[in-house]
């Protein structure tokens, strides 16, 4: 048999069960040398599980995996790495207290313990140059910003001299110019002897790197084929691609079953919305009615040595919806954490409704009416859905809490259905709804939404932003921190762009959208 005709990796009938839940249901996959294959699908479809199964972190319940004809199904992760399967993690996990070079040494010395030191050094130098890390070789991994950490993940996987490279959502959290760099990097590591698998939500990466793609849904392979065809497929669009932030005109026709099952937001008229939402909206305070709700002046903040924010000014009045955009490492989450009190700025003024609150602990600021829907959701896994919601109802007696609970359940009926289930037993999109509901339960005056769309399928993002629109209609003050520029600008009254620790630009969304300087960085052909 001609070696080129045999698949490099053959996955047959792979199944993964967690108790009663079937995460991967009889999936077949073949990888040929020299190919780059994309795997896309909604959240909870099993994409990361599939990576875990191939990489060895997750043992299969059934099925086989063959690498170059050799059965590796029962091998642990370390043996698969040695056999030539390298993977990156969705959230980069470098060895933080080791330097970039040392991170690579770990892989090198694992596969070739007695390699000559000088040869190892040469090989490392080549790898670092390829992945654009040569200038930071001696820095501790902890000091690297996100894109660099992703490069390090890839470099580390390459140090294993792999035959199969698994890239798990490498595009997440990057803005457009960083994605361009990433795509260039991926293309440069493509090799006729190895195969690359890319699991992604950032569709641009899939479109520009992968000749073939596969769609997973509910653990099953929905369809597989050339990427362009997959993207044009109606079924795939319904299940996953969503509307991309553009509202469909009303005569859409009967909703498909999948769409109906995800119809989780009630759409009501403005007055009705206000009525339903009133338990959740804080009344406007009589005193300080003249003062803006939130004021930041000259805020400087950072972590240890790193200065992240270098003089941020921001004023927000009641009922406004603000978008805060910016590249990774610009400081968006740092800003959110300063406002909620998790980080104390080194200088500057922070006022809530005219009251100086600098240095107060997060729980005090929360009680002043600032709610923070945190990046990564942070649902309490040991509490039920309802308990997660109730924890947030701080200053409410039983009946007020009950009212607020009712309003949240009206907004997100799926939460009512699952009220006694564990907080993290739901899909990513549903957990995000829970996180939003939790923020509302505090009856806040202002809610900060920190990257709520991260890691979610576009069709779910549509639903979440419908919920945000309801909140806006009802008069809530919102700060939206987002990578998804289009959706944020569609909702906001005013937008700020954080660049090098200050607001480089601010203005109404139309102005931001049209500014040629920013168009290059932030607005592009991202989906």
């Amino acid at each position: 048999m001609n070696a080129i005709d045999a698949p490099l990796l053959e996955v047959r009938g792979i199944v993964k069960r967690y108790g009663g839940l079937v995460a991967i249901d009889h999936v077949d996959l073949q990888l040929w040398p020299g190919t780059i294959t994309g795997v896309i699908g909604p959240n909870g479809a099993g994409k990361s599980t599939l990576i875990g199964l191939i990489g060895g972190a997750v043992p299969p319940s059934e099925g086989t995996i063959r690498l170059d004809g050799r059965d590796v199904s029962r091998l642990p992760a370390s043996e698969r790495a040695r056999a030539g399967i390298g993977r990156t993690y969705q959230i980069p996990r470098p060895f933080l207290d080791m330097t970039v070079e040392e991170n690579l040494e770990v892989a090198q010395y694992s596969i070739e313990p007695f390699i000559r030191a000088s040869l190892a050094r040469e090989q490392r130098a080549v790898l670092l140059a390829r992945t654009g890390l040569a200038d930071v070789a001696r820095l501790p991994a902890r000091a690297l910003p996100l894109l660099r950490r992703k490069r390090l993940e890839i470099a580390r996987a390459l140090a294993l001299k792999p035959r199969i490279i698994l890239l798990d959502e490498v595009g997440a959290g990057l803005v457009d110019n960083e994605i361009t760099e990433l795509i260039a990097l991926i293309r440069s590591i493509a090799d006729p002897r190895s195969a690359i698998v890319i699991v992604e939500h950032v569709l641009r990466v899939v479109r520009e790197c992968c000749e073939r793609s596969m769609v997973l849904n509910f653990g099953k392979k929905l369809i597989e084929g050339p990427t362009a065809e997959i993207f044009a497929n109606d079924q795939v669009a319904a299940v996953y691609l969503g509307t991309g932030g553009v509202r469909e005109p009303a005569g859409r026709g009967p909703p498909t079953e999948a769409a109906a099952a995800q119809n989780v937001v009630h759409v009501m008229g403005p007055a009705a919305e206000r009525r339903v939402m009133s338990p959740l909206i804080a009344p406007t305070a009589a005193e300080g009615a003249g003062a803006p709700l939130l004021e930041l002046e000259g805020i400087c903040a950072g972590y240890g040595q790193a200065r992240v924010l270098r003089g941020v000014d921001l004023t927000i009045g009641e009922g406004q919806v603000i978008a805060i955009l910016g590249a990774n490492g610009a400081g968006k989450t740092t800003l959110a954490r300063v406002i909620s009190g998790a980080i104390v700025p080194t200088s500057g003024v922070l006022r809530i409704a005219g009251e100086d609150v600098l240095g107060q602990p997060p729980h005090s600021i929360a009680r002043l009416g600032i709610a923070h829907c945190m990046e990564g959701r942070r649902i309490f896994s040991t509490l039920s859905v309802q308990e997660n919601l109730l924890v947030a109802a701080r200053n409410a007696d039983a009946s007020a809490a009950g009212e607020r609970l009712g309003a949240v359940y009206d907004l997100f009926p799926v939460l009512a259905e699952r009220r006694d289930h564990g907080g993290t037993s739901m899909s990513g999109g549903q957990q995000q709804m829970l996180a939003i509901g939790r923020a509302l339960m505090a009856r806040p005056r202002l809610i900060i939404f920190d990257e709520i769309s991260l890691g979610l399928a576009p069709v779910i993002m549509d639903k979440l932003y419908e919920a945000l629109a309801v909140l806006k209609q009802a008069g809530m003050t919102l700060i939206i921190i987002e990578q998804d520029v289009d959706r944020a600008l569609a909702l906001a009254d005013h937008a700020y762009v954080l660049e090098h620790g200050v607001f480089g630009l601010s203005g109404p969304p139309s102005k931001i959208a049209a500014d040629p300087r920013l168009r290059h960085i932030y607005i592009g052909t991202a989906d």
């Binding site: 729980h363 923070h372 942070r378 040991t382 509490l383 039920s384 505090a442």
Partner: protein, 291 residues
């Protein structure tokens, strides 16, 4: 094979004792769950409770069982400054710092006991403590039954507190993700302090009950620390009812071990069991995850 009456008596006594041990273990479990802290002074809190009961009786003539609420408050009052001055400042560092601090507290306490109360062993003497209770061929000391009832009642109260009350919700949220809880408005430091105080109170009350049933001395704490650890692991971390079940199981197995192998082997059986459970089910025998 000893006669059935003795076997029954021994086993039932073991189970009753297990209930009392479960109460003390509960204190350790709460602190471990909320603060991720192995409180190495836990056994010594127990001994504080025992001494407190002893001196309560001595100076007021009132039965220490009546004085249990006072003893609970005493332990809580001890625990709060300990938390505030010694543990809270270390909360940003790794778990070893707090653990070692509590170890230092433990050796200080033991030394203080020796200095203040001498190294003698003593026991809380009540006439009824040694009264046997007889059901058919089975005889158990009355104090075991009383201690068991009080212990189970308290455990159920704590269970209700943790699973149904607002404070319990805050406690569970803080132990799941302290940072997120803080952002939602939970005063995590206060929750931790109250949890530590609650844990100390449970240990102290359990100590009084045990002090009425057995002898104790300045260095008795160590053995009870390990017993409590075993029960916490058996029952699953953060699982109140599991701790009760774990305590009953441990008491039962210890008594069987003593019966079959000889009295000196009771503790050995406990440790061996502990290691077995750790080896095969590190989350505890009865642990149940919510998802």
């Amino acid at each position: 094979m000893p006669e059935i009456g003795i076997v029954l008596s021994t086993v039932v006594s073991g189970v009753l004792l297990g209930g009392m041990l479960a109460l003390t273990a509960l204190g350790l479990s709460i602190v471990l769950g909320v603060m991720r802290l192995v409180n190495l002074a836990h056994g010594d809190f127990l001994v504080v409770g025992a001494y407190a009961g002893f001196f309560f009786l001595k100076f007021t003539g009132v039965d220490p069982l009546v004085g249990l609420p006072v003893i609970a408050l005493l332990l809580a009052a001890l625990a709060v400054p300990l938390y505030h001055f010694l543990l809270a400042p270390l909360s940003t560092r790794g778990p070893e710092a707090q653990m070692m601090t509590m170890f230092a507290v433990s050796i200080i306490l033991e030394n203080v006991f020796v200095l203040a109360f001498s190294a003698d062993t003593r026991t809380i003497e009540r006439d009824y403590a040694t009264l046997p209770l007889t059901f058919g061929s089975m005889t158990v000391p009355l104090i075991y039954v009383i201690g068991f009832s009080i212990a189970v009642a308290l455990i159920l109260m704590v269970h209700w507190l943790i699973s149904r009350s607002g404070f319990g919700r805050d406690l569970r949220a803080s132990s799941a993700d302290a940072q997120a809880a803080e952002m939602l408005g939970v005063d995590v430091k206060r929750v931790q302090m109250l949890s530590f105080a609650l844990g100390a109170a449970c240990a102290g009350v359990g100590g009084t009950l045990i002090g009425a049933a057995f002898q104790f001395g300045p260095s008795s704490g160590g053995a009870y620390l390990l017993n409590s650890l075993a029960i916490v692991v058996l029952g699953g971390l953060g699982n109140v009812l599991g701790t009760l079940a774990g305590g009953l199981a441990l008491g039962f197995l210890q008594s069987i071990g003593g019966l079959v192998l000889g009295d000196g082997y009771r503790d050995l059986v406990g440790m061996a069991l502990f290691l077995l459970v750790l080896a095969f089910r590190p989350d505890g025998f009865l642990a149940r995850a919510r998802s």
